[in-house]
Amino acid sequence: MIRLSDPPIDPGALLTGFLEGRRETGAVVSFTGLVRGDGGVEALELEAYPGFTEPAIEQIIRDAVERFGLDDCLAVHRVGRIAPGEPVVFVAAAARHRRAAFEGADYLMDYLKSRAPFWKKSHEAAGARWVEPTPGDQADLARWETMETR
């Protein structure tokens, strides 16, 4: 499940909800991405295309669930203007065993970071600039495309 959120997101509350009522899940891995405030960044501005962005992310989630045999996944992504220290994204993956949960969350984040339809502007002391996926993001993604499914 993916949700876009204009108001701030609460990773702790999201994790609590995600853990509720589980009987077959042995492992839940969560990822929280925060805006770092140490590079002179004053705010991130994230734009999605509602109705287009969610289905693209749902497809990434379906791929992860199938590839790693996950129980389920949750992704909540902030849009709008986000201050340093605030969460940008929360992702959780549930599985019977921990290896699948780790790999599922890792895969989800790599695809979210470089394939999800968002446009991101970094407001910095020196001015504002649009951000594109880094070479590191591309390298992270390439891991899954060459790696065999375990």
């Binding site: 991405g33 994230l46 734009e47 295309y49 109705g51 287009f52 289905p55 992504h77 940008v88 994204v89 979210l112 970071k113 470089s114 394939r115 999800a116 339809p117 968002f118 446009w119 991101k120 502007k121 649009w130 951000v131 594109e132 996926p133 993001d137």
Partner: protein, 84 residues
């Protein structure tokens, strides 16, 4: 009933054009006709729409080639994505 096309710009395209959303009425017959019309209105935007990696979506689906446009449809121009 809508007779125009709703046009959406994302990311840097919005900065180039100075707008995010606009209705072009009446609807151009095709995507390429819409592109020509936008380029006539704003040359810089026209160049940006032809830039590398800019995709068009019609009614929220990526549209390859030069699809026909119906009145009431939505066309979004999507520059290279930043990722989440």
């Amino acid at each position: 009933m809508a007779t125009g096309v709703r046009v959406l710009l994302f990311g840097p395209l919005r900065d180039v054009a100075g707008w995010r959303e606009r209705t072009i009425d009446p609807a151009p017959a095709t995507l390429s006709a819409l592109r020509r019309l936008l380029a006539d209105l704003d040359q810089a935007l026209g160049a940006a729409l032809d830039g590398p990696g800019v995709k068009a979506a019609v009614d929220k689906a990526i549209a390859p080639g030069d699809p026909a446009l119906r009145p009431g449809c939505e066309v979004a121009f999507l520059p290279p994505m930043s990722g989440g």
